[in-house]
């Protein structure tokens, strides 16, 4: 006799979702998801000043603010057929990189990990890991976004056509300082897993050597060493590295 199980609300997601699963003799034979909230962002955008679109679109989500804002800015720039300055691309990369980092962190440790008992998270270790690792690191990433955007979440630097800020050496220094993060105390040991980033195709040099005032300089990739206290993400050479993009 097939039985339908409803899970509504699904928790530890952003937003509202319900799931119906029909099970017969221990096998799932049918499943439906239903979004249980409608807001109508596209309808709200109609008739407004187009330059307002990145700001309003960014409020679709409070976690992935940067992605919606960028998609909106890209569509406006495509419509106007403009190329944005290179500095704007770099600043958008920095903000997007920090956002991706804290999104992954939030997703694995807070939202999804407990459901799959990832890294032993399905127990009371969750709260401790949250306090010792997740909160400081995501505050750090949000600070990188705030340096370039004014605040985080929901920053206001991305405008159609570029970024509303200019890079200054202080901002670059502040960002670099937050890319070498040392945690204050030994957090609880999470399960080790093999880092797979070394298996990605090796990236070519990010820049070629240039002449600058008589000497040859070349930009370097920045390796962020995660603290040995974290106890995970070791590559085959035993070196703990993250690649920051």
């Amino acid at each position: 006799m097939p039985e339908t199980i409803t899970i509504d609300p699904v928790v530890r997601i952003e937003g509202h979702l319900g799931i119906d699963v029909t099970v017969d003799k221990g096998e799932v034979i049918d499943a439906h998801t239903h979004g249980t909230l409608f807001r109508g962002a596209e309808i709200i955008l109609v008739g407004r000043d187009p330059r307002d679109a990145p700001t309003i679109t960014s409020y679709i989500c409070g976690v992935c603010v940067s992605e919606h804002q960028l998609a909106s800015a890209f569509s406006l720039e495509d419509a106007a057929k403009v190329n944005i300055p290179r500095n704007a691309i770099l600043i958008r990369n920095i903000i997007e990189g920090a956002t991706t980092l804290y999104s992954h962190l939030l997703h694995i440790f807070v939202l999804t990990g407990p459901d799959y008992d990832l890294y032993g998270l399905g127990n009371d270790k969750w709260a401790e890991l949250l306090k010792e690792v997740v909160i400081p690191v995501q505050v750090n990433c949000h600070q990188i976004v705030a340096i370039w955007g004014g605040r985080s979440p929901h920053y206001y630097a991305t405008v159609a056509g570029g970024e509303g800020v200019v890079p200054k050496s202080e901002l670059i220094g502040m960002t670099l300082a937050r890319m070498n993060l040392r945690l204050p105390r030994q957090p609880p040991r999470a399960t080790r897993f093999r880092c797979w980033t070394h298996k990605l195709p090796r990236l070519r040099r990010l820049s070629k050597p240039r002449q600058l005032g008589g000497e040859t300089v070349q930009a370097r990739r920045h390796h962020v060493r995660c603290s040995s206290n974290l106890g995970y993400a070791k590559n085959l050479r035993g070196r703990k590295t993250f690649m920051v993009f």
Partner: protein, 364 residues
């Protein structure tokens, strides 16, 4: 030295919210630790929200969200982003509070309340329960009701024109009183809805207001029921670029450091103390180094007068009610006279005392 009550209140008002935290950090911690024994039951409900207010709360400090929940055992019975039980177990927490079988001390709403089936949470007997139903039932059971964010306060983004879901805030829709609960609503402790606007609100605004509420009294509220400690002055008044405004120097393109008025900054009409307390633990604010205030704490956000975001403010409402060009020129003229007078005085003093060897060259 004895001070009168009036002077003491003036001094604390002048100190501003930034110092309140350092002054009362120990008090705040003790309030939350008392909550551990008393087990204060809170429900953080999300309506038509984007979870930005919760993410903003995670950026706070002293106490941060985890300190408040774990060390002090603040009993958060329902929070969709962090709670473990889902489905019927989650709705049972809501049902217990709504029916009154479990106490509910603070009901916090994040996000606007859309009409009818535009937003539902959970099912009872196979039928989805609308957010309106939950909000009205839980608000009637709670001792205190707090609206976090511009959406819960006054409709916000889902309530923006043309408001396809007929979403409203708890007790306001834009500037009109009313909302989902009605203009006359009072929670069980006898207070109206406490509004903490902002899109998202600063985490300090939320934690400090909650610590007041948990201590058993509502903070001093203004005519939009916002705590005046944080929403008593406009962004413009505390902006670090105010000096440029007074010298009539305006930024003409993004990246300039002068006053952002002509690029559409809504600082002069938005009540919030953002430039004073800064964001993300003192890093930056939207007017300090970004592309300007969008008026996200204004009840009208994101409709006019807080939008279009890049159109400069023309009609400045009372009590400002002044022409920006006139003000700038007047102050610039006064400053020039002041500098001139000071230079004359220095020059005259030098001539009389004859203390320095550099005479006319330096003073001129």
């Amino acid at each position: 030295m004895r001070t009168t009550r009036r002077e003491f209140l003036k001094t604390t008002a002048a100190l501003g919210a930034a110092t309140v935290y350092t002054l009362y950090a120990r008090d705040i911690a003790s309030v939350f630790s008392a909550a551990a024994e008393g087990d204060i039951h809170t429900i953080w409900f999300q309506g038509a929200a984007d979870a930005g207010c919760s993410i903003s709360l995670l950026q706070g400090a002293r106490p941060d969200l985890i300190d408040a929940i774990t060390d002090f055992k603040l009993s958060v019975d329902f929070h969709p982003n962090i709670m473990f039980p889902e489905g019927e177990a989650a709705t049972s927490a809501l049902r217990d509070a709504a029916e009154g079988s479990k106490p509910l001390d603070v009901f916090i709403l994040e996000g606007a309340v859309p009409e009818g089936n535009f937003g539902t949470v959970g099912e009872i007997d196979g039928k989805p329960v609308t957010m309106e139903t939950w909000v009205k039932q839980l608000a009637s059971q709670a001792q205190y009701v707090v609206a976090v964010g511009t959406c819960a306060t006054s409709g916000g983004i889902p309530g923006a024109y043309p408001n396809p879901t007929r979403a409203k805030g708890l007790q306001y829709y834009k500037q009109e009183k009313g909302g989902v609960l009605g203009a006359d609503f009072k929670s069980r402790a006898g207070f109206p809805v406490i509004n903490i606007p902002g899109c998202p609100p600063h985490p300090d605004w939320i934690t400090l207001t909650l610590s007041d509420v948990l201590r058993g009294f509502a903070p001093h509220l203004d005519n939009y029921q916002r705590p005046t400690a944080f929403f008593g002055s406009v962004v413009h008044d505390k902006c670090p670029r105010l000096g440029y405004f007074e010298k009539n120097q305006f930024a003409s393109k993004f990246g300039d450091l002068q006053c952002l008025w002509k690029l559409g900054c809504k600082g002069p009409i938005t009540y919030a103390n953002c430039p004073e307390i800064k964001w993300n633990r003192g890093i930056n604010s939207c007017t300090t180094f970004a592309s300007g205030c969008r008026g996200c704490a204004d009840p009208s956000f994101p409709d006019p007068p807080s939008s279009p975001f890049f159109k400069e403010i023309e009609a400045v409402p009372a009590p400002l009610g002044i022409d920006v060009n006139l003000v700038g020129e007047t102050i610039a003229a006064a400053t020039a006279i002041g500098i001139g007078a000071h230079a004359l005085r220095r020059f005259a003093l030098k001539g009389r005392q004859g203390t320095t060897t550099e005479t006319a060259k330096e003073g001129a």
